[in-house]
């Protein structure tokens, strides 16, 4: 990337501070901006100020909560373990958004055990891939990584526990593949790549949702061996695709997908 292009890109990221403070970014952009924040001190200060402004907007909407809510929350608190404090030394500059941000999708009622109506063979293949990837990550861990890991595991559990969770895998002749476990009703999925290795230097693997009559939508960047949880999947979506993109990802695919997987078998495409 030329210095000018890099500068333009930074400017572009910088302008996302206000949308970020208002929670007006989609998940892929949010993640990209948060990576940028870790390195950008001025943005950090700006985001903090803007977030306090946004909170003022919130204060003006206060309303008395239903009394039963209090009893339910206090009862749930008695049975809910707390997360350990993050290692502060390593994240002194993260803005409020970042440490609060990726809260696990807490569910107060534990999901009832439900039968997964998933064809057994495909599930085990896909699940094995996801689980293998999870444990691979466990090997090197800091407190922060463990927190992130736990959040990811919860996200994955949420998909697995959905009543309509289904799995699919696609492999090429060389045994490389992509696996997905998805719930069409929740619009969520866990996606993992296997066997493709790291992208060339300065490039990334970007995951796209292909939809009829609409441009591909970015679902985020995929790292080999790290399952990615994606949300807000439209029911009409037809497939997932992965392309090689310049660092930071692209708004639209700039290369041909090197792997694509239909979502029809997991309940999408209606």
């Amino acid at each position: 990337m030329s210095p000018l292009a890099r500068l333009l890109r930074r400017e572009d990221l910088h302008s996302l501070a206000a949308p970020y403070a208002l929670d007006a970014l989609d998940p892929a952009e949010r993640a990209r901006f948060e990576r940028h924040l870790r390195r950008c001190r001025p943005c950090d200060a700006e985001v903090r100020a803007l977030s306090e402004d946004a909170a003022r907007l919130a204060c003006s909407t206060a309303a008395p909560p239903p009394p039963a809510l209090r009893d339910r929350v206090l009862a749930a608190v008695r049975d809910t373990p707390q997360e350990p404090a993050p290692a502060r030394g390593r994240t002194p500059r993260l803005p409020p958004h970042v440490w609060g941000t990726q809260p696990p999708p807490a569910r107060i009622r534990a999901p009832r055990p439900r039968p997964l109506f998933v064809p057994f063979a495909t599930t085990t293949a896909a699940a094995a891939l996801v689980v293998a990837a999870l444990f691979a990550v466990q090997a090197h861990r800091t407190r922060e990584e463990l927190d992130a890991q736990r959040d990811r595991t919860r996200e994955i559990t949420r998909v697995l526990a959905a009543p309509d969770a289904r799995a699919a895998t696609g492999r090429d002749a060389r045994g490389r593949g992509i696996a997905v476990i998805a719930s069409a009703s929740e619009g969520r999925a866990v996606v993992a790549l296997d066997g493709y290795g790291a992208p060339p230097a300065g490039r990334v693997h970007q995951l796209w949702l292909m939809r009829p009559g609409a441009p591909p939508r970015s679902l985020g960047l995929l790292t080999e061996g790290e399952p990615l949880t994606v949300t807000d999947l439209e029911r009409t979506a037809t497939s997932l695709a992965v392309t090689v993109e310049p660092e930071g990802g692209s708004d639209l695919p700039t290369t041909r997908p090197f792997v694509q997987l239909t979502l029809k078998t997991v309940g999408f495409g209606e």
Binding site: L16, L57, A62
Partner: protein, 180 residues
């Protein structure tokens, strides 16, 4: 005791402190979630998740970096926005909005109950923004649209929407500065 001090105790597992903190923040949290999510049953569910989050991740709060209330509201807002976006993706929102239009407005009831000073100030300050600044900020914050969706709805270029959001928030800060 202030929310900031309580939250530090909560982070050490103090359930009594959590009860007090709940009483301080539940109103703002519930009101915000309800403003974004709208549906009463879903609002209650999301508020409950957010408040439990507060208990679970209290240790992540760093008082040097901002107020407890804004931290709590950030957690709640994120959850509310996530919920409303997935509902919107599923087309549920349209159906619910149609239902709401046919039944007495839920919003009005709570608005009559709660007419605080802060609310008045925020309203007055919002009125002082330009129409585009106000719409850009409120479509994102109160209605949970991404800035791309806001740009689409207002037929504005993306860059313009980003600038309006930022100018809107900055002007709001200047206006509210005298009211805090």
């Amino acid at each position: 005791m202030e929310a900031d001090e309580l939250l530090v105790l909560v982070a050490r597992g103090d359930q009594k402190a959590f009860e007090k903190l709940y009483d301080l923040v539940a109103g703002p949290v519930y009101g915000l979630v309800q403003r974004v999510v709208r549906d009463p049953a879903q609002s209650e569910e999301v508020a409950q998740e957010a408040l439990l989050d507060l208990w679970r991740s209290a240790a992540r709060f760093d008082p040097r970096r901002g107020s407890a209330l804004s931290w709590v509201l950030t957690l709640a807002h994120r959850r509310a926005v996530d919920r409303v976006r997935s509902a919107r993706a599923a087309g549920e929102r349209e159906r619910r909005e149609a239902l709401r239009a046919a039944s007495p407005a839920f919003d009005h009831v709570t608005e009559e109950v709660e007419a605080g000073l802060e609310r008045e100030w925020v309203r007055r300050c919002l009125d002082r923004l330009t129409a585009l600044q106000r719409q850009s900020v409120t479509l994102a914050y109160y209605d949970g649209y991404t800035y791309r969706e806001v740009a689409e709805r207002l037929s504005l270029p993306l860059g313009t929407v980003k600038t309006r959001m930022r100018d809107g928030l900055t002007r709001l800060r200047e206006c509210l500065g005298g009211a805090a």
